[in-house]
Structure formats: structure tokens, C-alpha cells
């Protein structure tokens, strides 16, 4: 059997993603141009493909989370974030903070898609002396702004970064990726209060709500709902979207950016996602924080991913 480690789309996104923000004015999914949607869908497909390849090398890993969050990561890295691939420390870059360190597999895939990490380096994921450890660390990986993993840290750091950038006259934005499990942490809510108090319109939080955490389903571990009302009551501009619908994500990020410019209010995009999204074999498997995938299943996963992306029935 031949294996297909190469993703079926040929063009990665441009290595420099400096955009004119004034052009991003869509306010509903219907207003988002189709080419933006297709470009982002393609990026998400490649991110998922990279994640499956990395998971296969390890024989395990947080593949389910990477697949679920791929559309969020593709939207940020492919459409929203201002960066220079060749200069990860460029002062005028936007900051993307991965609070959930174990999502690093998805983040590395996005960094490869963005041209910040070489694609061929991805196979070193989780290996000794790799720049791509299992849990993301700023001291290891170019483009990794913080060391996440101790959950509940990212949003506090993001508040400081947003304050510091604003004080220094920068128009850079700060994006913090967190998970619904992280909403258990009190520090997340300290930071949510702080961001609202300091009117941090340059801060956007994106919450992956996959309804799953280490010990089981979120509503059985520690009930976090009603999540939308919580963020609204903390003063944030709050949107809740299907986190696996690229058009909806693009529209939500556009709205968040416009809102930020208008009134200096932090934005949160609550993204309902499906663990294993894009690979029916995994979508339908019993959900687990650390998903089990047999050696012979990886190729099936890739085939199903490609078939789904190309609009065909699953193999």
C-alpha cells in the first residue's frame, strides 16, 4: 500500500502575511469573499494533514485536538495574523499565544503552514533534542510566544502584552488561544477582568470548546456553561460560532477586529469544535484527551481527510 504523506494542495500560504486590515470588513459569513474561505479551508486541510503525519511518527498524541482546532488555527495564521515568516521576532508582529501547551502539535502544523517552521522538521515532533516538544515552549520553537501547558496562564500574559504594546504605541494585536477546560482555572477570570478593566481592544481570546478535558466531558468534570453569558458579564465582546466553519470564523474575527478598533473592548470568540474533525474514523471514536490510533489507521485517516476536503465520500 502506498502512503500519501504529501497533502494534496500544492501552494502553501505566502511566507509573509502582512495585510491591510482595512480590507477585512466582512460582518457576516455571507459577506466573506469565497476566495478567503477557500484559501483558509486549504490551509486547515494542510494543518490537519501535517498533524496526522506528526501523530504517526509519535504513534500517539493530541491529534484529536489538532484536528478539532485546525480551522481556528488556519483562520488566525492564514488570514488574521500579521507576521514575517523569516523574522519570528519582528517587533511589529501580532502575537499568538498558545495557552494550551498540549495543542502544540496543531500549532507546529500552523507554524509550518505559515513558513515559520520547515515542514520537514515536523517529523521531529516530540523527539529528543527536537525544537518541537510535546508541550509548546517559547524557548524551543520559533514563533512560539509563550510556554503554555500549565493551564490558565496564557490570558494573563496576553493582558500584559496587550498593555505593553499599547503603551509603546504599537498597533499589534494579541491573540490568546485557550480551551474550555482552561475556563476551570480562576486565573483565566482574573485576566478576563483585567482585560476589560484596562479596555484592551487589541486583545482577542479564542476558546476551543470541544467539551472535553483530561478526565472526561467538560460538563461532568466541572460545568463551565453558560460560557457565553460568563464572558459577556465580564465585559467582553462575545461571539459564539461553529469553530469548524471557516466562513463563520472569518466573519467573527473581522467583527472582533472592527469592535476592537471602535470601542477598546477585548473580544472573545467562543468556538464550538469537534474532536477529530475532518477524519470520520476519529470523529466517531470514543472521545479521549489522548486519542488512541492504531498503526494501520493513519493512512486511512489521511485518505478520509483528503476525501472530505475534496468533497468526496469517505474512503
Amino acid at each position: 500500500m502506498t502512503t500519501t504523506h504529501e497533502a494534496k494542495t500544492e501552494t502553501a500560504m505566502p511566507v509573509s502575511n502582512v495585510q491591510d486590515r482595512a480590507t477585512q470588513t466582512g460582518v457576516s459569513p455571507a459577506d466573506v469573499p469565497q476566495d478567503r474561505i477557500e484559501r483558509t479551508r486549504a490551509a486547515a486541510y494542510r494543518i490537519r494533514h501535517h498533524a496526522l503525519n506528526m501523530g504517526e511518527v509519535q504513534g500517539q498524541g493530541y491529534v484529536g485536538q489538532a484536528l478539532g482546532a485546525a480551522d481556528m488555527l488556519a483562520t488566525v495564521y492564514g488570514d488574521q495574523l500579521r507576521f514575517r515568516a523569516e523574522d519570528p521576532h519582528w517587533e511589529a508582529r501580532d502575537r499568538f499565544l498558545l495557552s494550551t501547551g498540549h495543542y502544540a502539535i496543531g500549532h507546529y502544523a500552523a507554524l509550518a503552514e505559515a513558513g515559520i517552521v520547515p515542514i520537514e522538521e515536523l517529523e521531529t515532533y516530540g523527539s529528543d533534542d527536537s525544537r518541537l516538544p510535546m508541550s509548546g515552549m517559547s524557548t524551543y520553537t520559533p514563533g512560539m510566544e509563550i510556554s503554555g501547558g500549565s493551564l490558565g496562564h496564557g490570558l494573563s500574559i496576553a493582558v500584559g502584552m496587550a498593555l505593553g504594546l499599547r503603551y509603546q504605541g504599537s498597533d499589534s494585536r494579541v491573540f490568546n488561544f485557550l480551551s474550555d477546560g482552561e475556563l476551570d482555572e480562576g486565573s483565566t477570570w482574573e485576566a478576563a477582568m483585567g482585560a476589560h478593566h484596562h479596555q484592551l481592544g487589541n486583545l482577542t481570546a479564542m476558546v476551543d470548546i470541544n467539551a472535553l478535558q483530561a478526565d472526561g466531558k467538560t460538563d461532568t468534570v466541572l460545568r463551565t456553561e453558560p460560557v457565553t453569558e460568563k464572558w459577556e458579564s465580564f465585559g467582553w465582546y462575545t461571539q459564539r460560532v461553529d469553530g469548524n466553519d471557516v466562513g463563520g470564523l472569518l466573519a467573527a474575527f473581522d467583527k472582533a477586529a472592527a469592535q476592537a478598533a471602535a470601542v477598546g473592548r477585548p473580544s472573545v470568540i467562543l468556538c464550538d469544535t469537534k474532536v477529530g474533525r475532518g477524519v470520520p474514523l476519529l470523529e466517531n471514536r470514543e472521545k479521549a484527551h489522548f486519542m488512541r490510533i492504531e498503526e494501520h489507521e493513519w493512512q486511512t485517516c489521511r485518505e478520509q481527510l483528503t476525501a472530505g476536503y475534496e468533497g468526496k465520500a469517505s474512503a
Partner: protein, 339 residues
């Protein structure tokens, strides 16, 4: 309109007035020369020369002398509310953007409550985050909720962190710009309010990472840090009356520790005594002890330190006497050792 108010019964004998912890919360001696809010003024001065310096606090600006900075530089001061995890996470975020934050709260909250944030957000990436901790050791009578008797024990295990335990206003004034200039995170055991001025009487300047011999002596050598250097100097003078000649070595930087200077002073036949405003566990005494053992000196070291227990509430002079930090207690301990 006239009213008749029943006067309280004052016929019983007046009770003796009680000492309260709120009334006696200073370790300065009566009539001692002091300097007001040396940290706040030093930070303002440093900030005038370095526009990257910013300040933040967790609802304790007035109680950590940060209010001086907030008044001088309102646009560079960030109030984070009573949220210590946010305080230090945000301080790390500010440092990530190239700024030099000084973040103040009480030492108990920095060390106990926010450790994970300081460790992973500031120390692991080696950011220039400067922790300013009020009420270190036994400098409040409010009991264990406020007494950071084990702050150095907690913080010494944190890689990359520099720990400074200043003696007086001179130490603080000279340390602040050096903390701002040094790479990596630092922890300052803050002395606040009217802080004694002691070291101006000696040929002394604060140098980060250096221990200094303040006075020589043939019989005993004191190795001390923080406000206990003030007590060590006072005890040395008192012991002179007993014909005991005492040297005092001040080690304001606890980590990295100037073992070379300290070991050279300890490696004599003098009685060696450490003095610290901290638990006997994990502070200056154990720092010195590990240096002595590592060097293979086989030298006995006597600790003057707080006991390994949760301390009482009360007035500071009462508590310093009770737990052995008062000058008289130090003198008695040394004389007993020399018998």
C-alpha cells in the same frame, strides 16, 4: 438644646493599655534615622533614566510604596486588582514586549499564591520581571496569613531568579537600578514606609551578587542579610562591652550567593553565626551551610533565624524578642555559645 449624656463609668481602675500589632508594626528603633518609602523614590529615579521601567501592583500600591511611582508616572503604572496570578502573568507579558516591570504585592502572595506564574511565565523564559514583596519574614504582627517566613525557601529553588534581601534604605536605593539593569527575574524583599538608614555609617555600596565585610572582629563572625544585618551590627556593638570582638559580613544577595567571600570569612577559628529574618529552613543559614559542606570545610555554623513553625500574631517588638531576632537575644545566644 441641651442634652444629658450618661458618662461611662470611669470609677474603676484604668486597665493597662495593651500593645497591639497595628500600633507597633515597625522594626525601626525609637529615634533611629529613617528614610521614607525608599523603594518608591528609587523606582521613580530609575524610571526617569530608563523609559522602559513600568510598575504594577495587586491592590497594594499604598502598602508597598508603589504609590510614589504611580503618582509620578501614572501612564506607566498598571493596577491589576487583587489578582496575583494576573499581576505576575501580566508582568511577564509586559517584559515580553521589552518593558522592565516592577510588580509589587506582599511576599506571602507572591511566593505562595503566584509561584507557578512567576516560575513558568517569568523565570523559565528568563524575563526581566522584578518581584517586589512586602512584609518579608517577620515584619508584621498579623500572623501566618501575612508573615512570609518561608519566602526565600520557596523562591530559592526557582532557576534564574535573583533574590535580594536588603538591610536598609541605602541597600534599597542602590539595588533598584541594578535590579532593573540585570537580565532575568529578581525578587526584592521589600522594606517599606519609614525604613532605617544604617549602612551610610560604613564604607559600603550595594553590588548585586556581592557580600561585603562591614566590620572586622577576632572572636565571632556574623553572616547576615536583610534587616538582621542592622541587628547584627547592633549586637556586635553590644558584645564589645563583653569583650567579644565581632565581624559582620552582609550578604544582601541570597541568590546567586557570594560563597567565595563568605567562605573566606567562615574558614577561620572564629564562631560563625548566620542571622536572617526568615525560617531556619531554606534561607540564609541553609545557603551558607550548603556552601560550607560543598567546600568540605567541616565548620560548625550557628543559626539565628525564625523557628520552623507558624508564628504568633502580636506586636513586632514582642515577636522579635519571642523568636530570637531582638538584639538582646542575639547577644545572649552568642555569649552562651562562647562559654
Amino acid at each position: 438644646m441641651s442634652t444629658t449624656t450618661e458618662a461611662p463609668d470611669t470609677t474603676t481602675a484604668a486597665k493597662p493599655k495593651l500593645k497591639t500589632s497595628a500600633m507597633i508594626a515597625s522594626f525601626a528603633d525609637a529615634g533611629q534615622k529613617t528614610s521614607s518609602a525608599p523603594f518608591g523614590h528609587a523606582l521613580v529615579k530609575a524610571a526617569q533614566e530608563n523609559d522602559k521601567i513600568v510598575g504594577l501592583t495587586a491592590d497594594l500600591g499604598k502598602y508597598t510604596d508603589m504609590h510614589i511611582f504611580a503618582k509620578a508616572f501614572p501612564e506607566r503604572f498598571f493596577q491589576m486588582g487583587m489578582a496575583e496570578q494576573l499581576l505576575f502573568g501580566a508582568a511577564a507579558g509586559l517584559a515580553e514586549t521589552g518593558l522592565v516591570p516592577f510588580a509589587s504585592t506582599y511576599s506571602v502572595f507572591a511566593a505562595r499564591r503566584a509561584y507557578d506564574f512567576l516560575c513558568l511565565d517569568a523565570a523559565e523564559p528568563n524575563l526581566n520581571v522584578n518581584i517586589v514583596g512586602g512584609l518579608p519574614g517577620l515584619t508584621t504582627g498579623y500572623g501566618p496569613s501575612h508573615q512570609a517566613t518561608e519566602d526565600m525557601a520557596i523562591f530559592r529553588g526557582m532557576p534564574n531568579l535573583t533574590i535580594v534581601d536588603p538591610c536598609d534604605s541605602i541597600d534599597i536605593e542602590q539595588a533598584v537600578p541594578q535590579l532593573a539593569a540585570s537580565e532575568g527575574p529578581t525578587y526584592l524583599r521589600l522594606l517599606r514606609g519609614n525604613v532605617p538608614t544604617v549602612l551610610d555609617e560604613y564604607d559600603y555600596t550595594f553590588e548585586l551578587g556581592k557580600a561585603k565585610v562591614l566590620r572586622g572582629g577576632n572572636d565571632v563572625v556574623f553572616i547576615s542579610s536583610g534587616l538582621m544585618t542592622m541587628r547584627a551590627l547592633q549586637a556586635a556593638k553590644a558584645l564589645a562591652a563583653h569583650n567579644v570582638d565581632v565581624a559582620v559580613v552582609h550578604t544582601p544577595t541570597i541568590k546567586p550567593f557570594d560563597a567565595a567571600t563568605v567562605l573566606a570569612e567562615i574558614n577561620t577559628d572564629r564562631l560563625a553565626v548566620t542571622l536572617e529574618n526568615h525560617s531556619v529552613v531554606g534561607g540564609l543559614f541553609e545557603t551558607v551551610a550548603s556552601a560550607v559542606v560543598t567546600a568540605g570545610l567541616g565548620k560548625r555554623v550557628v543559626p539565628v533565624a525564625l523557628p520552623d513553625q507558624f508564628l504568633d500574631a502580636g506586636a513586632l517588638p514582642t515577636l522579635h524578642d519571642r523568636y530570637g531576632l531582638a538584639v538582646d537575644r542575639i547577644v545572649a545566644k552568642v555569649l552562651a555559645e562562647l562559654v
